[in-house]
């Protein structure tokens, strides 16, 4: 997809001024933040689980090659196939080749952010294959030709009326001509439409929350059961996963599942947790004839051993999005690419380049709430700061910022001069306030005074007063 991250500021302002979006974003606080807090409060050992989750993910990343090879061997052992994709283009081609090998025309899909990352839907459509998203939120945004605005709740930016409009515009061919706005009616309508797709699909594509090295299984968690129908009904199941999703054992999966559901939705466990191990075996009642796993690198291996390695611990729970005051104010589309919020602000520059995504790691107050709730303790503010350092080193920091910082640093490094400059600033600002105690308009600080007054210094600086005091009582 075409990134609009360069226009982040403009996107953000548009989002702030969009009343429909603002109303929808209110749901995040109720739907995610409070539920997570309640779930965590019920589990006294949650802090210890976070330590264990962090350590486990670090262990995997330190031995990533070993676990990936082990996973591949186990997939083959169970009758499946593994395909390695260096980048998005390779991954798309692999999926297309598999689809063509079975003359697929219709593909059902479970929710997959990796699929968004590689732009799979557009690629398949361009090659004559119709992909149908089956996660309700993902299905809705597919009808609207939109990107997900949240990594686990892709349509969180929409309201009921917008969903009703989308269904009315697209469901007539399936015999639905009446417009419904009741959630239950909308859900039933989507179920009936999607049921036909599930039964007709030639290939089912899902993501993978985890790839289990011990068994060669892929694991998905859903709350709708659409993932199960996607991967068991068609003749071919393709699981699309990025390489860091590998986990050593089933025991380890259970640890991460406990962290994932609570952090994501405040559930103890998602409604469906589905393990896929190989194609249908003779004794199985159902399942696909072929089982493929596409493992995508797309720049991740270059993060190993570097200052952004910690980002690869991410298990995509979205707690950092839900708790971010910036994300909560503008939603996900403003970030301009696939991954929004704090995790996106770290990952996106890695995947599409800091020249394009430089705004994202800058649009943070470093309040630290994301790191506080992260189930695997990724130091997100620190990683965003590392991107700012890369920008600064490469002279990508905007000129006004760089210049202002340079002037400030010149004085800050020279205490005597600094004291005089501060004394002058105190005097000047006080004059500008003209006895009002605050300044309404300051030409060089419009960013501040466009929205708030600037409290004026009361007079002499602390250092001036302190020096005077020292003279009085030596």
């Amino acid at each position: 997809m075409q990134a609009t991250s360069l226009a982040f500021k403009r996107n953000a302002i548009a989002a702030l001024n969009n009343p429909v979006l603002q109303k929808a974003l209110n749901n995040i606080k109720i739907g995610f933040v409070r539920k997570r807090a309640a779930a965590v409060a019920k589990l006294p050992e949650f802090g210890l689980l976070r330590d264990a989750g962090r350590d486990l993910r670090n262990h995997v990343l330190d031995h990533l090659d070993f676990y990936l090879e082990r996973f591949e061997a186990q997939v083959i052992e169970s009758g499946g196939q593994v395909h390695w994709a260096r980048d998005a283009a390779e991954a798309n081609q692999i999926v297309l080749d598999i689809c063509r090998s079975v003359n697929a025309r219709l593909v059902t899909k479970g929710k997959s952010m990796v699929s968004e990352e590689i732009g799979l839907n557009d690629f398949l459509e361009a090659n004559g294959i119709r992909p149908v998203e089956t996660d309700l939120g993902e299905y809705i945004i597919q009808l609207r030709h939109e990107q997900p605005s949240h990594i686990i709740a892709p349509a969180v930016h929409l309201n009921r009326e917008q969903v009703a409009d989308a269904f009315q515009a697209h469901h007539a061919p399936y015999g639905f001509t009446e417009r419904h706005e009741e959630p239950r009616a909308l859900l039933d309508e989507a179920r009936q439409v999607l049921r036909q797709q599930f039964l007709q699909a030639d290939v089912g594509i899902t993501g993978a929350n985890f790839c289990v090295a011990e068994t060669g299984s892929t694991v998905i968690v859903t709350n709708e059961g659409n993932g199960d129908l996607t991967q068991t009904l068609p003749r071919v199941h393709i699981a699309l996963a990025s390489i860091e999703k590998v986990v050593p054992t089933l025991e380890d999966v259970s640890l991460l599942l406990r962290l994932l559901a609570r952090s994501a939705t405040g559930q103890e466990l998602s409604v469906y947790t589905t393990f896929s191990t190989g194609p249908r075996h003779p004794a199985d009642v159902d399942g696909p004839e072929q089982f493929h796993v596409v493992l995508l690198d797309n720049g991740r291996s270059s993060m190993i051993g570097g200052e952004f390695q910690d980002m690869l611990r991410c298990i995509r729970c979205a707690a950092c999005l839900n708790h971010c005051p910036v994300y909560s104010a503008i939603g996900g589309h403003a970030y301009g690419w696939v991954y929004p919020g704090p995790m996106g602000s770290v990952l996106t520059p890695q995947l599409i380049g800091i020249e394009v995504a430089g705004q994202l790691p800058n649009a943070s107050t470093f309040c630290g709430r994301c790191e506080e709730v992260c189930p695997v303790q990724i130091p997100l503010p620190k990683l965003m700061r590392h991107w700012r350092e890369r920008e600064f080193e490469r002279h990508l920091t905007p000129m006004p910022t760089r210049f202002g910082l340079g002037v400030w640093a010149f004085f800050a490094k020279r205490p005597k001069l600094y004291r005089r400059a501060a004394s002058f600033a105190a005097w000047a600002l006080r004059r500008l306030a003209g006895g009002a105690g605050r300044i309404k308009r300051l030409p060089l600080a419009k960013g501040w005074t466009a929205w708030r007054d600037l409290p004026a210094p009361p007079g002499r600086t602390f250092q001036q007063q302190w020096a005077a005091r020292r003279e009085q009582r030596p």
Partner: protein
């Protein structure tokens, strides 16, 4: 170990120096009353603006300046969770592991504290012998809260101020939108965040807003006053030290 009369290097902070000297004198008073000897070493800024803009070289130079000026003291105390957090949590990472500067930064880190945390956690202060006739609400500044664990300390001390009633606001732990240079780089976002904060403050019905960081206070006071809301804004140290005779943040001399 607390010596009989610990020697404190007061890190005034650049914002207090320029915008609110009373906070520095409040810290001084509180520390001296608690039995400390306080000095104000040569200082400018902790370097956080450079650090958070990605300019590590400038941040390192300023860190060396602070380390040199403050390392001879028993403790470094700042009336700010943000600046104390910079010295305590971030200075060491500016220097190569095992280098001389790294060791010095780590030593300074162990003896650096935010003011209310130092008064309670280190000095064991339990009582503020002052009064304040007002209903206050307290905003938790991000760095103090999440980097230094400052949460109960100011509230415990405020609880002993005669006449003061503390009313908690919703989401007191959510950022006010200041964020250093963030507030001028992304003014619309910052405005949205501080507007939410103001709404939560108003909902308490408190007449005074307190916090432990001047950056947040300037931001919130500026927004309250732009909105024409008559809520007084003060640094928690001013109330604890009883230095509330001066006009509140952004208020005119002699006028409410």
């Amino acid at each position: 170990m607390i010596t009989a009369q610990p020697k404190i290097g007061l890190f005034v902070t650049c914002l207090v120096d320029l915008f609110r000297p009373t906070v520095g004198f409040s810290a001084l008073k509180l520390l001296e009353e608690a039995g400390c000897t306080v000095e104000v070493p040569v200082q400018t800024c902790c370097g956080q603006p450079a650090y958070n803009t990605g300019d590590r070289a400038t941040a390192r130079t300023l860190a060396q300046q602070v380390i040199t000026a403050f390392e001879s003291f028993d403790y470094v105390v700042a009336p700010s969770g943000s600046c104390a957090g910079m010295i305590k949590c971030h200075y060491p990472s500016l220097f190569e592991i095992n280098s001389g500067w790294r060791v010095r930064a780590e030593q300074l880190s162990t003896k650096t504290f935010e003011l209310t945390s130092f008064l309670t956690d280190v000095l064991g202060l339990e009582q503020a012998n002052v009064d304040y006739a007002g209903t206050v609400t307290y905003h938790d500044s991000c760095s103090g809260l999440r980097e230094l664990g400052v949460k109960t300390q100011p509230r415990r001390l405020l609880g002993t101020v005669a006449g003061l009633e503390l009313r908690e606001m919703e989401e007191s732990e959510v950022c006010c939108g200041f964020g250093g240079t963030f507030c001028v780089k992304y003014p619309e976002l910052s405005n949205r965040m501080v507007s939410d904060k103001v709404a939560h403050i108003l909902a308490t019905g408190a007449d005074t807003l307190l916090a432990g960081d001047l950056g947040c206070l300037l931001n919130i006071a500026g927004k309250l006053q732009r909105d024409g809301v008559a809520i007084k804004v003060r640094h928690v140290a001013e109330v604890l030290a009883g230095l509330t005779g001066v006009p509140a943040v952004g208020e005119a001399e002699g006028g409410e």
